[in-house]
Amino acid sequence: MAEVKLKNITKKYGDVVAVQNMNLTIPHNEFLVLVGPSGCGKSTTLRMIAGLEEITGGEIFIGDQIVNEKDPKDRNVSMVFQNYALYPHMTVEENLGFSLKIAKVETKEIEKRVTDAVQILGLQDLKKRKPSQLSGGQRQRVAMGRAIVRRPDAFLFDEPLSNLDAKLRTQMRTEIKKLHQKLQTTIVYVTHDQVEAMTLADRIIIMKDGYIEQIGSPIEVFSKPTNVFVATFIGSPPMNIIDADIIKIENKFYFKIDNELMMPCLESKYDLIKDKKKIIIGIRSEDIVPQISPNYGSEFWNFNKKIDLSEPLGTETQLFFKLGAKEIISRMYNPRAVNVGEKLSFEINLNKVHLFDSISQKAL
């Protein structure tokens, strides 16, 4: 039951900076997800909160106490590890009750809490088994159970689902979300999987090279990415990124993608781009769709392109073609067979186009 606060947190390994000046407040009961490519410092941040990694600079608060100098055991946080980290010589029951035994909780109370955890996670039949006799999903559950019985101030999850197969991962994801609703505790969750991040988080932090790129709700980071990195990291398939020149014809601005195609710029955006020569355009694949009915109006732009490749997925078909120098993915929501080389007409809603500065890569 506590707020976790990071103040100017820095972590260096020798000269290598893993986390740079991180500031963050995680209010009580929030489900916060740290996401980013490997090596971005997300796990390091989590391990610093747990106390498993020393802090090079800055302060970490759990509740209103600075915990910098505190051992992991005195921080009252639970952690779920990527490899489950179960104690192989103990049964499921003993694994669950271990932390309580160490804390010298009464035997009756231990039994009660273990029974509760076992019920929440559906481990009734496995109580007497050793970890080696469990499947991956069951081990994962025990690892979570071990965290639950502690009733900690905060839960820390370090890529807990990455060792499970796809189906189990989806299932466990739902269970973790339910668990959070039931337990009402602060959760800090590290993952490299943006789908996990989107589905679980109250708030997402996208990290890269030790820096926070963006903090926001899943919808925010998806619909208003602050830079090209976030735009391409969140969402699947990644946002299409196109380099274009800005040209002005008869007082109207256009984005020149190649010699044939010029995308008009909405008048409402003229102020943003009027002093620039180049621009980066970002369009999500669901915003470039094959044209179904003709549409009129200034916010739509149509063009014809030859299809290089199509990947039918059932509910949709992903179409690949070149726009300028870049390969573009488009989604066809009413799938039909598409031949390679077939020419299709596409439409783009210009309101859905993201614009980024060509040098700083920041959103305009």
Partner: protein
């Protein structure tokens, strides 16, 4: 010729059968046979003097043999326990070191590089009551009466143990260090987050992970210490008044000095029971420890 006998499986394992026969089975049968004869090394014809169980009857009544037998068990128990304790300590310390660990690991193994005979000689001169380093060192601190390290009936055994422990603790250390390096980091970190202090982590996580290595080391070393001969022979020669006689120094004395090979072989067969018992015990423990960790057996 019987075609089946020379079928390819037989031919393929024939070399190993031959090798094992020459190296193990034939000597084993031969020595077992001699334990039923009055075979003396100096009289080869006595090899055919079959005496039945007389050698075994003699040794059962031989109190000196049983003293040596018991002394060997005591020697094993003390040496193995202390080596385990010291070896574990060294391994834990070296495991903590982040800088210069490899160098230290090499230095740690120096005692193993010397022949046990030379170790025996060295300690013999350290423990010598007149010219020994130890007594001279004590003299510097005002302890003027020379302590008869290798002559006193109790001290002599202890002195041999010290030499043995000095020479071989590093075997424990190196095996346990290998075990420590192989322990996954996650369960230890999990235990720290779960509220364990260093001692609790060691007791509840590190030690169970280390147990298989402890028992492997104990098995190897029990066989090793059980056949201790050279160091005793050099340091005390079994003296004073046979107070440091172990099984193998006794057997060697009877077999070679007294040339009473038949009798000595009978003793060897009895003392093998000891090695088998220790090995069996530690091996059972090893299997149990590994099963406990859910490892393959």
């Amino acid at each position: 010729m019987n075609k089946k006998f020379f079928s390819s499986p037989i031919i393929l394992i024939l070399p190993s059968i031959l090798a094992i026969s020459f190296v193990i089975i034939i000597p084993l049968i031969f020595s077992f046979y001699t334990s039923f004869t009055s075979y003396k090394l100096t009289r080869p014809d006595s090899l055919f003097d079959f005496v039945g169980l007389r050698n075994y009857e003699r040794l059962i009544d031989n109190a000196k043999f049983w003293y040596a037998f018991g002394r060997t068990i005591l020697f094993l128990a003390i040496v193995l326990n202390l080596e385990l304790l010291f070896g574990l300590g060294i391994a834990l310390l070296i495991n903590k070191i982040t800088w210069g660990q490899r160098t230290l690991r090499t230095i740690m193994m120096f005692p193993m590089m010397f022949s046990p005979i030379l170790v025996g000689f060295q300690w013999k001169y350290i423990f010598n009551d007149n010219i020994g380093l130890l007594n001279n060192f004590l003299y510097l601190f005002g302890y003027e009466s020379a302590i008869p390290w290798l002559i006193d009936k109790y001290l002599a055994m202890g002195s041999i143990m010290v030499a043995e422990i000095w020479a071989n603790t590093s075997i424990f250390a190196i095996l346990l260090l290998a075990g420590l390096l192989g322990i996954p980091r996650d369960p230890i970190e999990a235990a720290r987050v779960d509220g364990c202090n260093s001692w609790q982590v060691f007791k509840n996580i590190t030690l169970p992970f280390l147990m298989p290595f402890v028992f492997i080391a104990l098995t190897i070393r029990s066989l090793d210490v059980g056949r201790a001969y050279d160091i005793v022979h050099i340091m005390t020669g079994g003296g004073p008044a046979m107070r440091t006689e172990l099984i193998w120094t006794m057997i060697a004395r009877i077999g070679y000095k007294d040339a009473n090979m038949g009798y000595a072989n009978a003793m060897s067969y009895v003392s093998i029971i000891l090695s088998i018992a220790f090995t069996y015990y530690f091996f059972t423990k090893l299997v149990a420890a590994r099963r406990d960790l859910g490892q393959q057996q």
